[in-house]
């Protein structure tokens, strides 16, 4: 791949067009097949064994090959994450997984972001308060982030301040941690989309370092 950095994973779906109707059902079994329940439990077992943070777990799904991600179910995502983390942390060798499965066992792609060595100091005091106008940074980090692409570069208004939480962009890439305030930021749909619908407010919860004063 040379110097090309793959960013903006396929999982970041907000606002993507071309998807059809929602396959809604008013009620359904919690697990449609037994393998779904097993896959879910295996992820819990692996994440516990390797002490994966929420960020590392989510990123192990986000690194799936895009075609596989879009054409597989939620619990296949969890299975792929469990197997990927198990192989990356040396719990099981990939070759043995494929031997036992009797065929290909697709895992997620490699981590592209460098490990975070120094997370910097915690941010205890919110920089913004309710009613403040803020702008979301326009950037494309090569690793995990919880800043959806559709709000980057957009301006909105803080409607809630939620205390401090570990920054996922950091915890996904090593053992370093930094805590920052998170905010619920309200965006006018007309500011987010050229075809934004009238009378719609979209609220996105964002970490302090995702934001600049508008």
């Amino acid at each position: 791949m040379g110097m090309v950095m793959l960013v903006d994973g396929i999982h970041d779906l907000g606002g993507r067009q071309g998807f059809g109707e929602v396959g809604h059902s008013p009620a359904e079994p919690v697990f449609r097949r037994r393998w779904e329940a097993v896959a879910r439990a295996l992820l819990v077992a692996v994440a516990g064994a390797v002490e994966a943070s929420g960020g590392e777990f989510r990123h192990s799904i986000e690194r799936m090959e895009p075609g596989h991600y879009l054409t597989s179910s939620y619990y296949e995502h969890w299975l792929t994450a469990a197997a990927t983390l198990a192989v990356e942390h040396g719990l099981v060798p990939r070759s043995e997984l494929e031997t036992r499965a009797g065929g290909r066992f697709p895992l997620s792609g490699p981590v592209l972001a460098p490990p975070v060595a120094d997370a910097g100091p915690d941010v205890d005091t919110p920089r913004f308060g309710v009613g403040d106008r803020v702008q979301v940074r326009e950037w494309h980090p090569p690793g995990h982030t919880r800043c959806p692409g559709y709000v980057r570069g957009k301006s909105g208004t803080v409607v809630r301040v939620d205390g401090t939480h570990s920054v996922p962009d950091i915890e996904a890439h090593g053992t370093a941690r930094r805590r920052e305030p998170t905010y619920s930021v309200r965006f006018d749909a007309a500011d987010l989309w050229r075809d934004g619908q009238h009378g719609v407010w979209v609220h996105v919860d964002l970490w302090d370092s995702y934001l600049e004063r508008s």
Partner: protein
């Protein structure tokens, strides 16, 4: 769960992969006996939208509880005994005749487990996640949730640590019902915001 009984379906590739990982982890002592069954049982029978329905019904009969619920969702929900993973930071958003709330997670599948259980498949699939933030008025109508044309729609994308619960309006003509009967009227979708009662 599958109900094939004595006629098991052919084992699919994904089932073979699950079995391979399960076997390798079990051999290494990473899956204790009964672990899978315990996790499955918990989410199939203890945790689900019947919990959220009790919260909603309580808020309809007890105005002071409703105030506490809107002020500090986590604490008020804990009063009824519900809490835990994906429910540590709860915010309850209230529907009114002119305001409709709906929740989504565009980046993955965040959902308030202690009050709604595990999310339904459609909530986790791409069409809902892609469309609810861009064309909620169209999508809600398509899902059978009809709103007045001038109703304000508030979409909540669960992108950080807060998990949301929509507080639906109490349906008219339910004045004589008990709290338990009211809870029976509250649907999962009304607490996601893809339906009104």
């Amino acid at each position: 769960m599958s109900a094939e009984g004595h006629h098991p379906a052919p084992v699919s590739p994904v089932e073979r992969r699950v079995a391979a990982l399960e076997a390798l982890l079990t051999e290494r002592g990473l899956v204790p006996p009964g672990f899978i069954e315990e996790i499955t049982r918990r989410y199939e029978s203890e945790i689900g939208p019947m919990n959220g329905a009790k919260v909603v019904a309580r808020s309809w009969v007890d105005p002071q509880y409703r105030q506490r619920l809107l002020a500090d969702g986590t604490a008020a929900i804990a009063e009824l005994g519900f809490g835990g993973p994906e429910g540590d930071h709860m915010v309850v958003v209230e529907n009114t005749p002119g305001i409709h709330n709906v929740i989504v997670c565009t980046l993955c599948s965040c959902y308030p487990w202690p009050v709604l259980g595990l999310p339904p498949a459609w909530y986790k699939d791409p069409p809902y996640r892609a469309r609810m933030v861009r064309e909620p008025r169209t999508l809600l109508a398509e899902m059978g949730c009809s709103l007045p044309g001038d109703a304000e729609i508030r979409v909540w994308d669960s992108s950080a640590e807060v998990r949301y619960l929509v507080l639906p309006e109490r349906p008219p003509g339910t004045g004589g019902l008990t709290e338990a009967e009211l809870a029976g009227l509250v649907t999962r979708d009304s607490m996601i915001g893809t339906a009104r009662l």
